[in-house]
Every structure is written in C-alpha cells, then in structure tokens.
C-alpha cells in the first residue's frame, strides 16, 4: 500500500486484532486479501468519491474502514466526503455518531509525476475540523502511527512519503507500539534554533542538524508526527528556548508550516522569542514541475536547510 510495503504487514496484524477493520481501494494488497477475504478487503472501480463515502457510512455503522487513495492528489476528488461528511458527522449528529475511518495516501516522491500528482496537501486539512491529520517522519513512526490510527475514535487522514520506504530497520519498525496522536518527536537537542520538520523532510532536516552540530551549531529538531492534533506545547517550549524557528517540509510554504506557525504565535512568549527569526525550507507555493532541474528546486536539501538556519541565526534578537 502507498508505496510503503511494510505498512501492509502492520495492517495484517491490525486486521487480526480488530475484526471491524475493512479495506477499500482500487488496488488492495494481495496478501491482505488472501488472508482476510474479499468481504473485508475490497477492490473497487476508480471511484474514490464513492469509496470514501462508503467508508463514512460503514464507519457510522460500526466498522473501521481504511480507504487507500494511492496518491495524495486524489484527496482533492474526495473533499466533499472528507470535509462535509467524515469530519462533520460527529458534530452534525450532536455526538450521536462517530466516524472512525482512515484515508491513506502517498505524498511527493522522486518519480516526476508532475504538477498534478506530486502533492503534499496535508496543510489543507488543518483547517477542516474533525479530521485528524497524520504525517509520519520515519518508517518506524509510519508503522506506529498507522496502528494509532486504527485506535483513534474519528476520521484520520494518513499521508506517507514514499521516501520512507528507503529506510532500514524493518523489524524494529514493525514492532513499534501504537503511537498516541498529538505527541511530537524530539529528534535532536540544541539551543541554537528550532527546526520543525514534517513527513518526508524529517530525515533531511535531521541530517542537516547533524552537519550543523559538527560545526558547533546545535539545533532542536521536532517532528510533530500528527498535524492535527498538534503538540503545540512541545513546539512552543522549544521556540521559547531557542528564539529561532525554521520549518522544513516537502509541502508548500502556505500549507502546514503556515498553519503551525499561527498556532505557535498564540502561545505566550513565542512571538516575542522568535519574531523576525523564522525561516522556511519548503516547496514554494507553486506546483511541482516535472523536469528534474525544476523539480530539484522544490525539495528541502541539507544545503538549503543549513543556509536557512544560518540566516535566522544572523538575525539580531
């Protein structure tokens, strides 16, 4: 599923544990289908909106459906079911109904799928109430957060970066316990600056922090892991201490980074600590082009992250 095959094994274990889990996709994992049968593991026509709506109805009716959209760009096709229905039914029904469902999709990779299909739209879903938004930054967290998603009481959008598939440590990742939502990972420690890194960008941000540390610049690196709910307290505490903030994301500047920043500025002391010393290493607010030399400008790289950290370090307090 989703370009990250290890997640199929997580699902097999969770399907064994919870008989209410069902799977809908145009392309469902063969092993899952063999083991749990075509009732619980379905192959559908290319009908994302219907699959997502069916998941809403099945969730209200007591199942816990997983819809694999394959590409995150296809989330645009199912906005109505996600935003107007999945995210609002608990509210609309005055708490009578819960909608525990998971919609999975793969974000940007390095396959030159072009302006339409290379997208990280998770920031959009930070302003659509009722939807949890999960963006794992490591293979281990991908497994642990998927397990967490199968225990969450409401709808979850789960966005995974294809790059995570290249990480090692498969058996440790598979063994990781379910993660609770809303707890950031504190990956590197330092007082020079706070780096908030998301999803596929967490690894390059950590690498950049290591390189900076070798030059004596020690940064905090935090991976929120879930954007909704957001661990605002952990992020704010770091920014108050360092007084500098750099966002690193494969997605657009006005997406998750802008949303997170607005939450942080609500926290006492954050604006005073970091005002004017905030940086971004993200996809600019333009689509991702196909040509490699153009696409290259759209990725956070170690060099860009180091330069941006150095820039905010140069800004006077």
């Amino acid at each position: 599923m989703n370009e990250v095959g290890l997640l199929d094994l997580v699902l097999e274990e969770e399907f064994t544990r919870d008989p209410n889990l069902v799977f809908l996709a145009t392309n469902s994992p063969a092993s899952l289908r063999r083991r749990f049968g075509s009732d619980r593991v379905r192959i559908c026509a290319i009908s994302e909106q219907a699959m997502t709506g069916m998941a809403v109805g099945a969730a209200i009716s007591g199942l816990r459906p997983i819809v694999d959209l394959n590409r995150a760009s296809f989330a645009m096709l199912v906005m109505d079911q996600l935003v107007n229905h999945a995210g609002r039914m608990h509210y609309l029904s005055g708490g009578q109904y819960r909608v525990p469902m998971i919609v999975t999709s793969a974000t940007r990779g390095r396959q030159q799928l072009g302006p339409q299909n290379e997208q990280c739209p998770y920031g959009i879903f930070m302003q659509t109430p009722g939807l949890a938004v999960v963006v794992p930054g490591s293979l281990r967290d991908a497994c642990a957060l998927l397990r967490g998603a199968t225990r969450w009481p409401g709808p979850v959008l789960y966005f995974v970066a294809p790059e995570l598939n290249r990480q090692r440590g498969l058996s440790a990742a598979l063994a990781a316990a379910p993660l609770r939502f809303g707890e950031a990972a504190h990956l590197r420690h330092g007082d020079a600056a706070t780096i908030v890194a998301i999803g596929g960008a967490v690894k390059v941000a950590s690498d950049a922090a290591d390189a900076l540390a070798a030059d004596g610049v020690h940064c905090d690196v935090l991976d929120p892991r879930t954007l909704v709910p957001l661990d605002t307290a952990a992020l704010a505490a770091s920014v108050r201490r360092t007084g500098r903030l750099v966002f690193v994301d494969d997605g657009p500047r006005s997406g998750a980074p802008a949303q997170i920043l607005s939450r942080l500025l609500d926290e006492p002391g954050v604006a005073a600590a970091a005002g004017g010393r905030i940086g971004y290493v993200c996809q600019p607010d333009v689509p991702v082009p196909s040509a490699p030399p153009l696409e290259e400008t759209m990725w956070p790289t170690e060099g860009r992250i180091r330069a941006e950290v150095q820039r905010v370090l140069g800004e006077p307090e």
Partner: protein, 333 residues
C-alpha cells in the same frame, strides 16, 4: 506556441487516407518503443504509459477531425498527440523535460498543445471528460461547428464525473465524442473484476447517449465510427460514446524498468495476432496498394523521424531553475 487555431471554414475533413493512417500508426509504434528504451536509459523522465497496441484508435479518431476540433487526452497520451499532429520534436523534448518541450518541461507526459487544440492530458482518471464537455459547450455557444473529443480508458467509467457529464451532454446535445479505449485492464485490475459487465455500451446508453461498439484494432472501423459521431455532433445531433475494444500489448506503465506485470499468455498471443498495424497492412486497400518495400520504407522513415526528434531533444537545454515559478499566475493577455 500559443497561437489559437482559427475556426475551420470547412467543417468536414478530407476522407482519411489509408496510407497516411498506416504511417501514423507506425510512427506512434516506433516512438513508443523508443521512449520506453529511453526511459529505461534515464533520458525520458517520469512515468511512461505506452500506447503500444492501441494505435488504431488515436489515428482513426484524429482522421475524422478538423483543425478547429478540440481534444482531451490523459497520461497515456503520446499516441493521441502524434495522431493529432503535435510537433514530434516538441513532444519528445517535453518527455525529456527540456526547455524546448511543448510545456517547457513542466508537464512531461501530461501535455497540452494549443496549436492543435490538445487542451489537456490529465493525470486524474475521468477528469478530462467534463473539461471536454466544456469545450463542446464553447463551440455550441459560439455557433461554431467544432467538436470536442475526449479519450478515456475503460477505467474512467468508474468516475462519477464521467457519468454526470454523460447526462448533461445528452440533455444539452453537446458536440462531444467520448472515445473509450477499452483495453480490459485498469492498472492492476481486470475490468470484469470491478464492473458489472464487460461491455460498457449500456452504461452510456443509460444516460441516453448514443453508444457505438467497434473493434479498436481496426483503424478503418475506428475512422468510420469517429467520422459518423463527429458528423452527428457537428450537426447538432448530440454526443456519442464510442467503445473501442483493444489491448495494451506491452504493459500499463514503466519508470526506470519495464513493468514486470504478467498477463495470460494466450490472451496476449491472441491480441498480438490482431496487432492493429499488421491488421491494416493485411487488409484492403493496403494489401494491394503497398509493396513490402513500401512498408519497409514507411517504417524506416518513422525510425529516422523519431531519431531526429530524439537528437533534437537531447540537444535542447534544460529549463532554467527560475522557470519552476513561471506560469503559476496568468498575466493580462
């Protein structure tokens, strides 16, 4: 590259020339085989969805069109583009991601070409159908005789937007021709696994859209069906859904390596025996009109043409990095 096509004065295209259609199919075949090689070699970028096996459909349909007609394609669109007469050098350069490409390297296979009214090649299954209907509406509003054609795969009938558009097109008598290239597969799924029946005609008929089933590997049959549909649409007779049965004799998709997908060998053999290019070669009028040497010359010309396009693409510079941020916002025309 952005000059709009002037509305055609004469609405009917010339009768399709069988030799020209044969040569166009050969050009697509040679091009596709070469693009797969060059994708494996890392020169072509992005996903390559080869059109091999379906050439007769693009060629037969485009033979029925005039300059003023519009086309909407999708990710498996090289064949549509070539049959439409999109400049081969610019197409190839685009697949190489170069500055001289049709879309400056931004699109790779998802090309547009305003010169030939190729409006878009969407990467979203089914999404092009309402867009094509919009182009049809534009012709209707302006009182122009232009027709809009959308190529779709059999998988696109899964999309609600396609069904919604069929209903609107029927009611509003849009000059729209949907060409459904039914190759029996939707990526990893066989169509009978996900649809209630294999024939798609009744799905279109349920929306009260005229539906025509044809052998998509017979270029003459495709050209005739397209010609009839286009003539009807131009005359205000409304939309047609053409289901052209066909088969991908290579595979769905490749990135760095050709796809390892396996198909039943008897199925593959049966369709290879009905290869659209061989079929055209062996049926009248080409059987009598072309010698083996003539046919070989057509293949040789296609190989030369494709090689020239490849050389041109190779020598085209990469786009400058600043180009990444151009064309996000339209400027005043």
């Amino acid at each position: 590259m952005t000059t709009a096509v002037a509305p055609a004065r004469s609405a009917e295209p010339a009768a399709p020339d069988p030799v020209a259609m044969f040569a166009s199919m050969v050009l697509i075949r040679v091009f596709e085989e070469r693009m797969m090689e060059l994708r494996t070699a890392g020169e072509v970028i992005g996903p390559v969805h080869p059109y091999v096996g379906q050439e007769a459909i693009a060629v037969g349909v485009c033979a029925a069109l005039t300059q003023a007609d519009s086309l909407v394609s999708h990710y498996r669109g090289h064949g549509h583009a070539i049959a439409r007469g999109v400049d081969l050098d610019a197409l190839t350069a685009e697949l190489f991601g170069r500055a001289a490409g049709l879309c400056g390297g931004k699109a790779a296979a998802l090309i547009s070409d305003s010169r030939t009214n190729l409006l878009m090649s969407s990467g979203i299954v089914g999404a092009g159908v309402p867009v094509a209907a919009g182009a049809a509406m534009a012709a209707q509003v302006r009182g122009e005789p232009a027709v809009s054609v959308a190529f779709i795969g059999d998988g696109a009938l899964g999309s609600g937007a396609v069904h919604e558009t069929l209903t609107i097109a029927a009611v509003q008598r849009l000059p729209l021709v949907l060409v459904c290239e039914h190759n029996g597969y939707q990526a990893g799924n066989r169509t009978e696994e996900v649809y209630p029946e294999v024939s798609l005609l009744r799905l279109a008929e349920a929306h009260r859209v005229r539906a025509v089933g044809i052998d998509g590997n017979d270029v003459a049959a495709v050209a005739t069906a397209a010609h009839d549909a286009v003539r009807l649409a131009r005359g205000g007779g409304g939309p047609t859904f053409i289901e052209a049965r066909t088969y991908l004799t290579r595979f769905h998709l490749q990135f760095e390596r050709p796809s390892p997908e396996v198909r039943p060998s008897d199925e593959m053999a049966a369709w290879r025996a009905r290869d659209p290019i061989d079929t055209a070669r062996q049926s009248p009028p080409l059987r009598d009109r072309l010698s083996d040497a003539d046919v070989e010359a057509i293949w040789e010309r296609a190989r030369e043409r494709v090689e020239r396009a490849v050389e041109t693409a190779r020598s085209s510079p990469w786009p400058a990095p600043e180009e990444a941020a151009t064309h996000v916002w339209a400027e005043e025309p």
